[in-house]
Symmetry: C2
Subunit: 155 residues, 2 copies
């Protein structure tokens, strides 16, 4: 259970766009220098999100990338999904067949139950966190997120 590099850097790039002027957007270079990532990598990440319909590109002089929706209409789940994370329960099982063609527990599996409960909870949380919730000082964001998680995993 780890945050992948794509999730981390992809979200950072998107947040830059969210904080920029919606009409003007930002160029790959600008995002790269603001985030301390290489332009080539930024390009790759933005393209993934463009493919998912979260942002779009404008070519030529004064071009760049722009957000397709308002930050209030874009959830953390949308972003993470665009970046190819958060596999479904079925995908988790398919990825771990051991040295068989399919997992020996395919019919009855208590672990599947655990991963399923967990990933659904994570998905639910991410769906409730909007990009707009992430814009602002860290302390305030933390407060907002805590409320989004309503009596979460803790009793």
């Amino acid at each position: 259970m780890k945050i992948t590099a794509q999730e981390e850097y992809g979200l950072r790039c998107l947040l830059q766009l969210a904080q920029a002027d919606r009409e003007t957007g930002l160029s790959v270079k600008e995002i790269a220098s603001k985030e301390g990532i290489s332009p080539a990598y930024v390009e790759k990440l933005l393209r993934l999100m463009a493919k998912a319909g979260l942002i779009h590109s404008v070519r030529g002089v004064n071009g760049g990338y722009r957000l397709d929706r308002k930050p209030t209409e874009l959830s953390l789940r949308d972003v993470v999904r665009a970046l190819g994370s958060l596999p479904t329960t079925e995908e988790i099982c398919d990825r771990h067949p051991g040295n068989r063609t399919s997992c020996v527990h395919i019919q009855e599996c208590c672990i599947r139950s655990a991963w399923s409960t967990l990933t659904q909870a994570i998905d639910g949380f991410m769906g409730k966190v909007l990009i707009s919730d992430l814009m602002g000082p860290e302390a305030k964001v933390t407060q907002t997120l805590q409320s989004r998680i309503t009596t979460p995993f803790s009793v």
Copy 2:
């Protein structure tokens, strides 16, 4: 946000031990054949958990691995930790510095806030799931886990 192979297979091996006779334990070969994984890999995973003090090995004829604690005294969090997953917020930041020596958002970071809230929730949930909760038919396990998550991420 993905379940790693070590988490998946490691938990499966541990669960085999939990279901076996506490005195007799199981040999690496037995676990490997029950799970459809290679003995060499099972060995590697068990060693990680032995290092963490969850299980211990007995050498020689009739040797094998045995659980150190009762399944009711061992949580999913213990297992996942032993397998090297679930990084702390600090580790997440350290792992993603971009092309600088340290992340440009080191002082103020709204994303850190998101990952922190999320991983703490996951950690909390895993701490409440005992290995004994995972022993039994899938349907019943699911029911138990749902209750462990009390009004989780969903409203």
